[in-house]
Homo-oligomer: 247 residues x 2
DNA sequence: CCAAAAGTGTTCCATTTACACCCATGA
DNA sequence: TCATGGGTGTAAATGGAACACTTTTGG
């Protein structure tokens, strides 16, 4: 496994100025969904919020907000995500707590220090139509490719570009040994669909034959008696994930 | 890799009572050192602080304290560790942010919610003599085996037992692919010494021949022209770690 | 010379990888 | 019947585990 690209370099931030108030706590989320990139192939997208205040006014930032007194960290992440994007991911995991002093430069809230606890998730494609009263192009929320190489913004507000990159690294590592990909699919799915998820996340193509065997050997995967009809060729068998859903 | 034993179950904490003040931030540390267990073989120990107030008065807890406004998360962890134990580990890494509502039951600070960001480290054995004016049996700080199966306390204050277990899991996973073990050793060391560190952390013996080859293939390891004299048998060659030290 | 640890070589085995091949269906 | 993706078989390559064997020192 390659070394983590980001947090190892986080702690070294130097004291730039003395903040006065005690640090406040905020929650941010990096939500990945699979959507077709400009080039047509499915890739990873993230919802971003356009900032309407300084600093970084006009830049895109991760959805987030304060932590209230009566909710757990994960509850806060869920609530915040629902408020800003209408999403409710089945799988949500803590990524990292970012608290370098460099992040403190926020005139809009005085000189108060902000420590962000970041969560990440992978959601189904059909969840990406912002739910409830929120439309796709609603307000200042929009989906963007997660990586600049696929058309995503090269710069984000604060240190959010680095946070997204670190979340990407975690997702790619985790999908190789954990049951992450199933949360993108419905109740039943073909192995080709599951493979497409892995390929999109990892950014490379996988051998269908070997992919089949590796999964059948390990994961909680159950072959159903149903087949996906309507395709142009031989109908593939549908499978069901039998392991733990959600948390 | 086996699934993480702890944080996957953290988010599900339910709302037990409504806290009133905004959550406060604290830093805790899990510092591992290698010392001989009661049975004589080297195992992992952690410094613990005996609580002098309710709740959990008299129980052992992880060293920790509040986060001040002018320091980064890692700086706060270092400062706190130095204050309570006199230690200054070369390698320090963030473990997890714990913020379940179950942790909030602390009459000593009113009903305020506490979110703990926990760091972990592995330090050299000679660092474990509490430095500065602090002696080994000083005040309410003492070393304990990290695992109950090696004589450590089965119960700790708050959720600290689970936190130590999770840190152990992280350490054992990380030592297999990252350069963690070198921080326990001095400038030069024999392969047998390095292997002893791995064996103590993993809790099982390793084949000397295979261990040698695996490390020579991957890690930043440099053979010196020095040999460790004075042993009872053939003097082993000394090696030097050439990868990144500290952070 | 003997014991014991350092260090090397070799075999065995499981997993991964590459790819040839057959199967089943829609058009 | 043909094109295409679904699905199976198989052999080479890889990497780890087990262990025999040689080397080098102190006693």
């Amino acid at each position: 496994m390659a070394p983590a690209p980001f947090p190892v370099a986080v702690g070294g931030a130097n004291v730039a100025e003395r903040a006065q108030l005690p640090p406040s706590l905020a929650i941010s989320t990096v939500i990945f969904a699979l959507k077709p990139a400009p080039d047509g192939r499915p890739t990873l997208w993230v919802p971003l919020v356009r900032r309407v205040r300084e600093p970084y006014r006009g830049s895109w930032a991760l959805p987030g907000g304060p932590l209230t007194a009566s909710e757990s960290l994960e509850d806060a992440a869920r609530r915040n995500l629902a408020e800003t994007t209408g999403l409710d991911p089945a799988y949500l995991e803590q990524l990292y707590a970012f608290g370098g002093l460099r992040r403190a430069n926020r005139p809009d809230i005085g000189s108060q220090r902000v420590v962000s606890i970041v969560y990440w998730a992978l959601v189904r494609a059909h969840e990406t139509e912002f739910g409830g009263e929120l439309g796709e192009e609603r307000d200042n929320v929009a989906w963007h490719p997660a990586e600049p190489s696929h058309g995503g913004p090269a710069e984000l507000a604060f240190d959010h570009r680095e946070i997204v990159d670190y979340a990407l690294w975690r997702l790619r590592n985790k999908i190789e040994y954990a049951q992450v990909a199933y949360h993108v699919l419905g109740e039943m799915f073909t192995l080709a669909q599951l493979r497409e998820v892995h390929e999109a996340v990892l950014g490379r193509s996988l051998d269908p034959a070997n992919f089949r065997r590796q999964l059948k050997g390990t994961a909680d995967l159950e072959a159903t008696e149903h087949y996906l009809e309507g395709g142009r060729h031989r109908p593939p068998r549908l499978y069901r994930y039998t392991g733990p859903r959600g948390l």
